[in-house]
């Protein structure tokens, strides 16, 4: 059959290119099954070129061919190759290191305004709780829930209150660490970020409520003349933990803010642009919660000297400040959004 004469241009086009499509398909099959690592250096070099070839074939086919099966095939092939070339393929360990060295502190700096606002809400809560409880100790009961108080109420004797500062909770430190201090706090923190999606409304409320509790407790200890000892008890880990909460909340606020004030983008697009960065704050704060729980679970149980406790609080404050202000400044600038 002498088809060469009457053969369609589109069929001829396919004849000429089909070979390279098949090559790309084999490579893509292997990447999908075994990952990019299964390709040799030569093949790895060829993948982008073959992908570009498939992309241009698809453009041409769209213009000249009406063979639906061919168009579908090329669309799917280009799609698969696209996922291989542009899909996330970073080694997790490298991404992890890069995250803490560069991206996390940089993101915190860029969201500095929200961090400040979140901090302000927390401090406002603490001050309010402190002053209201100083004015009327009965208010302590409405600010501090029963499980939070753990027997520390205005009715307790000064001796009992002091005891808690030095002997702390019974039970193994590790259990305490794992069950409550870390997992619980980190979950609350992450949730504090996630509820930012509700236009950010619940975030200041959560910050303020937590501040009230802390302020009320501080007021209780101050009233008994144990003010300094209370802060020395809470701040060694509190600096880190409160900072972690503030960062989560700042992420949540940023999320809510870009929903309410989308600027020149649509809400959907703005959210997609800014949401990723806001999430960095929350993700990084998990590490802070971890540090805080270590300090709280182990250090606080073992070290009872006031100056050491105070020094640790001051040191951790200085360390975090330095980290967030200066870490990851060198190197190429990372621009948010494309």
């Amino acid at each position: 059959m002498s088809a060469s004469d009457g053969r369609l241009k589109s069929a001829q086009f396919r004849r000429e290119r089909e070979d390279t499509w098949r090559q790309l398909e084999t490579l893509v099959d292997r990447v999908e099954a075994e990952g990019l690592k299964s390709l040799s250096a030569v093949e790895l070099n060829r993948l982008p070129a073959l992908y570009q070839g498939a992309v241009s074939s698809l453009s041409v086919a769209r213009a000249i061919s009406l063979d639906k099966s061919l168009l579908d095939y090329l669309t799917a092939l280009a799609g698969r190759a696209y996922l291989c070339v542009y899909g996330s393929k970073r080694p997790v360990a490298a991404a992890f290191a890069d995250f803490f060295r560069r991206r996390f502190p940089a993101a915190v700096r860029r969201q500095g305004g929200f961090v400040a606002v979140a901090l302000a809400f927390l401090l406002l809560g603490i001050l309010t709780g402190f002053h209201l409880t100083r004015a009327d100790p009965e208010r302590y009961y409405s600010f501090v829930g029963e499980e939070m108080a753990q027997g520390r109420t205005p009715a307790s004797s000064t001796e009992e209150l002091r005891d808690i500062l030095y002997h702390g909770d019974s039970g193994s430190a590790l259990t305490l660490f794992a069950s409550f201090l870390f997992t619980h706090n980190a979950r609350i923190g992450l949730l504090c970020f996630a509820v930012g999606f509700a236009a950010g409304v619940p975030v200041p409320y959560l910050l303020f409520i937590n501040g009230l509790t802390l302020g009320a407790m501080a007021a209780l200890y101050h009233a008994r003349g144990l003010g300094f000892e209370f802060w020395a008890w809470i701040l060694p880990h509190g600096v880190t933990e409160l900072l972690a909460i503030v960062l989560c909340a700042a992420g949540g606020l940023a999320l809510g803010f870009c929903l309410i004030f989308p600027g020149r983008h649509t809400r959907l697009r703005n959210l997609a642009l800014r949401g990723r960065e806001a999430a960095l704050l929350a993700a990084g704060s998990v590490a802070l919660f971890f540090c805080a729980a270590l300090l709280e679970g182990f250090f606080r149980q073992m070290v009872q000297s006031l100056p050491v406790r105070g020094a640790v609080a001051g040191l951790s404050l200085a360390a975090w400040t330095g980290y967030f202000l200066f870490a990851g400044r060198e190197g190429r600038p990372w621009r948010p959004g494309r």
Binding site: Y73, G79, S88, F182, F193, A278
Partner: protein
């Protein structure tokens, strides 16, 4: 790419990603059912993993109950929050998603970044675990709320949980925040070009016409100017089904009669077999339409 084929059983929702090369690539949006199934598989893996860790811990650390329990708690925390992030950051998919051929991709067409993966997975608490807690154990969440208050909260949380059902791209809150999309991974099958080699016949259907017969069928330009691209591709679908032997002969006959009527096929040639006629018509029609395409005329539908 209008999914306007003859058979419209399940018209896929498409989302066109513009790649950095400037090409718009349509991806099929993953249906809600697949997403739920994939999540269920992943969820089972997480639960099984947590249970396995706690069992191992109690096996090897029998003497130290406390330590074992703590390790199990930590492991389940990291599994629950890290599983999705690590899997998706590595390959853009998880075990459950891979099973259902789902992939996460960035809606703006760029590479899927680690930030995006983190962002889309941090929202899971809000979307799944909080609404579940609100439904199953409302006392724990808001102890002193009145009944109407609980109702409002549940309603509000359900809006988050059911977000994918409210938009065409099946975006959940996490996808909204991260700018991602979950799509069906394309599965290409390249079928033979019907116009290029009309030979392969299924064994079920013995070759009714001699191989050369197709060559003798010719059409005039007027006859080929009637139908458009849509009809051509419907015909392509039919011929492929006939090739695979899954098409009822009567459908083929009906289509053939319809076309012959429409183009005014000479009555003396109506007795010729239908399949070779349709194949020849397909080839001639495609040639004509592609020729027009080259001159910038894209005839989508039939002229009359």
């Amino acid at each position: 790419m209008a999914p306007g084929t003859l058979i419209e059983r399940d018209r896929p929702r498409l989302y066109a990603v513009s790649t950095p090369e400037g090409l718009s690539l349509p991806f099929q949006v993953a249906p809600a059912g697949d997403r739920i199934l994939a999540f269920s598989i992943d969820f089972l893996i997480i639960v099984a993993g947590s249970i396995a860790v706690s069992m191992l811990a109690s096996l090897f650390l029998g003497g130290m109950q406390e330590v074992g329990r703590s390790l199990a708690l930590l492991a389940s925390f990291f599994l629950r929050n890290g599983y999705f992030i690590v899997c998706e950051a590595r390959s853009g998919t998880t075990f459950g998603k891979r099973r259902l051929h789902l992939r996460v991709l960035s809606r703006d067409g760029g590479p899927l970044t680690v930030e995006a993966v983190i962002a889309r997975n941090l929202m899971r608490d809000l979307e799944i675990f909080l609404p579940l807690a609100a439904l199953l154990a409302p006392e724990a969440l808001y102890p002193s709320a009145p009944a109407w208050g609980r109702f409002v909260v549940i309603l509000w949380l359900l809006v988050f949980a059911l977000m994918p059902l409210f938009n065409a791209q099946r975006l959940r809150c996490g996808d909204l925040v991260a700018g991602t999309l979950v799509a069906k991974a394309p599965q290409p099958v390249l079928l033979s070009d019907l116009a290029d080699h009309p030979q392969p016949r299924p064994p079920a259907e013995p070759s009714a016409a001699p191989a050369g017969a197709a060559e003798t069928i010719t059409f005039t330009r007027e006859q080929l100017d009637i139908y458009g691209i849509h009809e051509l591709q419907v015909l392509e679908d039919l011929l492929r089904q006939a090739d695979q032997g899954i098409l009822d002969q009567r459908v083929l006959d009906q289509v053939g009669v319809k076309i012959r009527q429409k183009i005014g096929w000479p009555p003396e040639r109506w007795s010729e077999p239908i399949l070779p006629f349709l194949q020849a018509f397909y080839r001639a029609q495609r040639g004509r339409l592609e020729q027009k395409l080259l001159f910038g005329q894209r005839q989508e539908k039939k002229a009359r």
